[in-house]
Symmetry: C2
């Protein structure tokens, strides 16, 4: 094999870096001395590298100042960059192409109003307080950044989560809680703990699209069970399927404020659901991401509360309720605890401890409950205003849910409308929605749209709703 001379190899190396933008126009190029040192080359080689690059037109020598990167004439000028290439779904085989495609298209667009988010606006979170707790935790724990934290998470946070679970009538002992990178990681771990590739897992229909991605990426078969905004999962349909020929290894349910339906299961249904799953040895995975946003005085019961056989795996998150930037979630995996603990170690090791300390310091104070109460009130108002706006601008025949909490509205359009088309047209106008079509592997929900109400209602939001209404009218 012919090897090019060293100076040519190095020149190519830097050319690549300039082409890819790692070294940018106008930036200073490494000095001859630095190059000699870094690449262990002679003076003459380093000089030769610069000459090569000058010859290519990418380097400009400025007297007494050094070499600078310039834009060669045959590279596109900044500002004249071509539009982003169309999203290529081939690269997402096995990660749910439909959902991946929608997420990617959103990332590439310039968004002015985002109705696709399930988060609250940043200013609704207690950022200043959390920041103070962070700084305090840092100062009090000098070695925090210098050692890996425990696999299961910091005991301060595990204790407070166990304590708070009691008021939702679930007994999650601190030693059986594992802190995760959000509910997303918790759900991944739950599924990896109890299924093997090829197994069948049942979900509510419609369901959170991220779950469909997780299931496909783990090579699991998905069975969709109808659910309603009124009472959540249809237990009769579930019972029939459980009695059917196909073994259902696990079932994932969000009993309180389901995404996107906003449904809350009555206690009788929760109890019956837990019993049914135990009876059929189908593992029940509970996703309680939104539980703390339920707008009632008393916390509602979890599925875990009704669990007598340790057959329920409980997953939850602080990302919607307290601090999206911290990525904290947790899992209490019942009889699969040891397995989940080791899978967590194998997948990503114990979570970073600082934010765990900061949130537990805050959650220990009465301010936390006060903060949640206030947040729920604000969200209730925002949902009402958004709902009124939708009624004002969307076509006649539109139906909107009235969930008892949370940030999400599920909007049914007259049947001939397409949410995927609306998604497209919205992006062009700088408005992002979640098209109903991605909440199922069927095409049943293409005339639905999920609208996030996490931000205070404003003229800008009102205008964006009007634009969506107009786009729908144009759909005929």
């Amino acid at each position: 094999m012919h090897t090019p001379p060293l100076y040519r190899q190095l020149a190519d190396h830097y050319l690549d870096a300039i082409r890819s933008g790692t070294l940018k126009t106008g930036e200073r190029f490494p000095s001859i001395r630095l190059m000699m040192e870094k690449h262990a080359v002679s003076l003459s080689t380093a000089v030769q590298v610069c000459r090569e690059l000058e010859d290519c037109g990418v380097l400009e020598a400025r007297p007494r100042s050094g070499n600078y990167i310039r834009q060669p004439d045959d590279l596109p000028k900044p500002g004249a960059l071509p539009p982003p290439a169309p999203v290529d779904t081939d690269v997402y085989v096995g990660i749910h192409e439909k959902v991946s495609w929608v997420l990617r298209a959103s990332q590439r667009a310039t968004i002015k109003v985002n109705f696709a988010s399930a988060y609250c606006a940043p200013e609704l979170y207690p950022l200043k307080t959390l920041q103070d707790h962070m700084i305090k935790a840092l100062r009090q724990n000098q070695h925090l950044l210098g050692a890996q934290g425990p696999n299961c998470g910091h005991s301060a946070l595990r204790n407070i989560l166990a304590r708070r679970a009691l008021t939702a009538k679930a007994n999650l002992p601190a030693e059986r809680i594992v802190i995760t990178n959000g509910a997303t990681e918790a759900l991944n771990l739950a599924l990896r703990a109890v299924t093997r590739p090829g197994d069948t897992v049942a979900v509510e229909s419609p369901t959170f699209y991220g779950l469909l991605q997780i299931l496909e990426s783990l090579n699991l078969r998905v069975l969709e069970i109808p659910a309603t905004a009124h009472a959540g999962i249809n237990l009769l349909a579930l019972e029939q399927l459980l009695q059917g020929a196909e073994r259902i290894q696990a079932l994932i349910v969000t009993p309180n404020l389901q995404n996107p339906l906003g449904s809350i299961m009555p206690d009788a249904n929760k109890s019956r659901l837990v019993q049914l799953c135990a009876q059929h040895t189908t593992v029940l995975i509970e996703d309680d991401t939104y539980g703390d946003l339920v707008d009632t005085e008393q916390p509602l019961s979890t599925l875990k509360h009704w669990d007598r056989t340790d057959n329920v795996i409980y997953c939850a998150s602080l990302n919607k309720t307290l601090a999206p930037g911290m990525r904290l979630g947790w899992i209490s995996a019942g009889k699969w605890h040891e397995r989940v603990e080791m899978l967590k170690h194998t997948q990503s090791r114990g979570c970073e401890a600082l934010s765990q300390l900061a949130v537990s310091a805050f959650m220990k104070t009465p301010s936390y409950e006060r903060y949640l109460r206030r947040l729920r009130k604000i969200l209730t108002q925002q949902r009402q205003q958004m709902s009124a706006g939708i009624a004002r601008y969307f076509p006649p025949g539109t139906c909107v849910t009235t969930p008892q909490g949370g940030t999400l509205l599920w909007v049914e359009l007259p049947r001939h409308h397409s949410s995927l088309a609306l998604f497209h047209e919205g992006l062009k106008a700088g408005i992002q929605i979640s098209p109903g079509d991605i909440f199922s592997n069927t095409r049943r929900f293409d005339h639905f749209v999920r609208i996030g109400c996490g931000a205070p209602y404003s003229p800008k939001i009102d205008e964006a709703l009007a634009t969506l209404g107009q786009l729908l009218k144009n759909q005929g």
Copy 2:
């Protein structure tokens, strides 16, 4: 189905919490008023709950102060707790039982001297500086905790990593870097992106035991290829296997400071390895976790540097070199970038941004390079002292590697010794080692031990080495 009365349900609920330790002896029990509010029950129900618990002997009424948890006589007293149950490998099926068992046994023991860690002692990391950068980043970014960061990570860190890669002669454009929860998550993502369950993946033998866990948990078949402390993976053996009947979908190699061998591949081998893999369309996954700890003036080349066809996936980490508590790693996945980006979203979403901002602020300064230089010097000394200690106390015929950097020594004992037995006996004496047996799926390395040199040599360490020497002598 007969449902017990409400007060009985609540009493059971609290009994469970006391049994599991969520409510602890001596703690105050929730007041009648709080119970009424939290559980939406009447005064008489709440009172009834307390009576039930008093009757069971777990509640003690103290006049004018409230109810307190007491230890009922039939529960074991604290301090009289039974020894931890033996580790049950059944729960680890599919997560490499042998490795899981060793990790779990270590966690349950009380460790006084830990030779099993690959980290440096906390005080060797620039903790004060990082802490200052954290606080600054927090103050400068008011909304940081209130919104989820970008999927691929913060651009500040991606830019600095791209820039630093240049000096190791690899071109990793910032837009093709994804920040991960350590190299552990990076390796998981790399494998999930390019393999399907059942595929065969080749690794060096011996190799990092965490990798064996990852491979098994992803249902991948492992093929071990001999490697030496002198030059790393044996290319002749690899070539033969690549030409064999079994398709090798991916190969994972640590070219610089392999764990546990400490080997460094010569440039000619690196180049040849990349070429071989490209030729056989075997994806080459590079694990560069220890690259920055190589004790040479110039950074050594990465495999990615020799990659002309975008067939190398580069994984690395700051956890050994800068801040174990932050859990920051990264991946640059060549032509699988989009796929890895979406898998990362599906597995855990974008990483928490604060630590990314803090480390990039530090890594931009010349202090970072100075810090690394100093760390390498200290580690070189610690390795030498540890090596001398081993020579002093271990049986004649013991061989120790002399790696050109890093924190690890790989110790070969005379053949009749068993590292698993030494591991056991060591734990009993409060000393933790990594038994060679877990670095392979074969039994080839049971007479090896990996010894971490991350902590300053001390009389305590010296004594622990002497104890290990004695335990080995007892093995006969």
